[in-house]
Symmetry: C2
Subunit: 441 residues, 2 copies
């Protein structure tokens, strides 16, 4: 069946785009992929290879003939080569590096020397640099001669004799300007730029905020080292959002493609948090056991346990979710916590009152006025408690330089559970006045 | 204090970028903003205004003198004007439209005629179209003359005499090609494009998948209507991620900036789901009450209720989160559900066994072997049940054309609660053999 698929892929390649061939290949075995590579026209092979996922690229390199593997690796754009090497185990990386020309090895090692998730890892070191004193006519000629050396020529940078970034301009300005005017006269000086060690999230934020299509990357001395293009940044924005979503859902940070993941991969991504939450639940069990006598006197209280603790957890999850996302997009900053806390107190009180009123009716139905009152009061207290935990936890985590998204819905729910149990049975014990019930269990 | 801020803003504007002025203005009152607009140099006023949020733009239009308001609105790019009108109440929109020239009114009404969140709402109708038979030299001249009409000239489209899209090319190809060759000889025919009613998420996915910086938008007949540029799509990717994150956290879909939201805004965004979950919890209360006699016979069972139902909810939240995100990024498709279900069954069993083993120890500590065994078995069953619900719910929702992200952590948790209670007390009733306990309560 796969053979047919591989052959079908190659039937009418003219109408299929490189990216779509790469996507279709992702579903094939290494054998199938190598058969597709073999029948691809010479001028499209490198492009398709460049769009494959790192794992698939590596598998192909190991599978293909030596000459072809070298050819494909050599044609890989520098930023894609960095991405490939980043994703490989050390001994696999060696197998790739062994096949590169000395110049590419040097380039790859330099790029991999920058910290993970930094601007340096994301950039391509190939760009076209103009000099400020050149005329536009001369600059245009220079661009025409060196266009092959750069990923894009829509954005062009201007440097001094030492390679220091002076400004940027666009091909469009060269074309629209008077041929005899100088580059300096139409460049934007003081361009937005990143330093090579900057976090890639910061790079994405700059490109987004300033509506750029490329961002220059410089070293500490201001020397231009490369550029990050917006298409790479789009992937970063998506990956970072996935990371946050996974963390909020109580999943480990390890990046795993759901499509290709094994049962073991998924087990590892999930078990850590789940066991930690089981451990937290010991305290919940302890909290319930502390009110054993209250419970024995009024088993009806346990009917409402899921409602009460669940509501605290739900309100808390909402609060944490809003805060984490707003911090990630820069909608609010860590310094805003006090203002947000005061407002959250207002919102939570209103939510608690509304939910308490609804729960009061349910309580009345099951156990009469007294139970209804206990449920009403507990609901308000629990929703406020849960919301406070959910809202403050992300800020606390940033304070300790931890990722606010660690305040996941499951974590907030587990903490709200323990608080909710204490609040609910505490109020019940006091109100119903089950004397003889000792909080020490 | 604000007056000082407004003045401070204007002290040294040369060094501050338009986007940063707009961001700083967001913190000011309408008075403060209008004072900044007044002192801005004439050539930067429109640019800064274009970067403001729609609400701030509207407030300014109402506050500024009539001439200046008209000037700023007229200079607004068509896609930004669409965004502004989209965000206003009907009577506010009228106040804006009243100030536009007839040509702009017509254009705005046409764009707003496309469905919300469609390619048409996102596109700018200003582009440069070339003819296939033109020489590059002639085309370049045409571009130079009409550059002001388009948001970008890096990407250029090729149409026939009826305006139908034939292909695309870039300024870079015009510059690098031989001046006497034709546009047709170097254009990409059969270009990736969107139809005007396509969802904006689909537009974002195409731009991302094909590494484009702009996507042409055509009508059903293939006539080129406009283009969507990548900087607008970056914002879409971020907004859609926020929407998914909020839904997964059990928040309403209403877009609210946390920074500017009132207590009422936030209450409205949160109360809907919370009340629905309270309603669901009635079933949880009913489920517990069905086992009243079992509970009366062994109150110790209630100690483990939070642990058991919480674990099902946590495993389910994880499963739902992974599925929702993988569906959103296209990592998996709705057709993959069976394969994923089988794998989830394997993962959930492994998770349940591990967590059950941990919970067994806790059970032993509180109540002996028999309780430990009940907790162990329940844990496995509940984790598998929760994971199945969490994993399948997003697929079920897509089947009914609903957003998979509706399968929020709080919703999955609430459903897992009810199932968990029935499983746990069911197993307990059977194993401990509390005879006389009637499941009908």
């Amino acid at each position: 069946r796969e053979e047919i698929e591989a052959d079908g892929l190659c039937d009418d390649l003219g109408a299929v785009r490189d990216q779509d061939i790469a996507r279709a290949m992702a579903g094939l075995s290494t054998d199938g992929m190598s058969r597709v590579v073999d029948v691809l026209p010479d001028d499209r092979r490198a492009a398709v290879f460049g769009f494959l996922e790192p794992r698939a690229q590596y598998a192909l390199v190991e599978r293909l003939g030596e000459t072809r593997a070298r050819e494909l690796l050599e044609a890989l754009r520098p930023d894609n080569l960095t991405a490939l090497l980043e994703h490989l185990e050390p001994e696999e990386g060696e197998a790739v590096v062994r096949r590169l020309s000395p110049h590419r090895v040097q380039q790859a090692l330099r790029l991999l020397g920058y910290p993970p998730e930094s601007a340096g890892r994301l950039m391509t070191p190939e760009f076209i640099a103009l000099r400020p004193e050149w005329t536009l006519a001369y600059a245009l000629e220079h661009v025409q001669q060196h266009a092959g050396r750069s990923e894009t020529i829509d954005t062009l940078y201007v440097t001094d004799a030492h390679g220091r970034l002076l400004g940027w301009t666009g091909l469009r300005k060269l074309v629209l300007g008077a041929p005899q005017s100088t580059v300096e006269s139409l460049m934007d000086s003081d361009p937005v730029h990143a330093v090579v060690g900057d976090d890639r999230e910061e790079v994405a934020r700059q490109i987004q905020h300033y509506d750029l299509t490329a961002l220059p990357v410089v070293d500490e001395g201001g020397v231009l080292l490369g550029m990050v293009t917006i298409d790479d940044v789009m992937d970063v924005v998506e990956e970072e959002a996935t990371e946050d979503i996974h963390k909020l859902g109580g999943l480990g940070a390890r990046q795993v493609s759901l499509r290709g993941a094994s049962i073991l991969d998924l087990f590892k991504k999930r078990i850590g948090w789940l066991l930690l939450l089981v451990f937290l639940a010991i305290f919940a069990a302890g909290a319930v056991s502390a009110f054993e006598e209250t419970l024995e006197a009024a088993v009806v209280l346990s009917f409402f346990l899921p409602l009460i603790i669940g509501s605290g957890g739900n309100a808390g999850s909402q609060g944490a979710t809003m805060m984490v996302r707003a911090l990630a997009t820069g909608d609010v900053g860590p310094k805003d916590w006090l203002k947000l806390w005061v407002r959250e107190l207002g919102v939570a009180s209103a939510l608690g009152l509304t939910m308490g009123a609804a729960a009061w009716g349910i309580g009345l139905f099951y156990g009469g006025t007294m139970l209804a009152n206990v449920v009403f009061l507990s609901m308000i207290a629990v929703v406020v408690f849960g919301s406070m935990v959910g809202m403050l936890m992300p800020f606390l985590l940033t304070r300790f330089n931890l990722d606010p998204a660690t305040a996941s819905a499951p974590l907030i729910t587990s903490i709200a559970d323990i608080g909710g149990i204490l609040i609910y049975f505490g109020i019940a014990t006091a109100w119903i006045g089950v004397t003889g019930a000792s909080p020490a269990g």
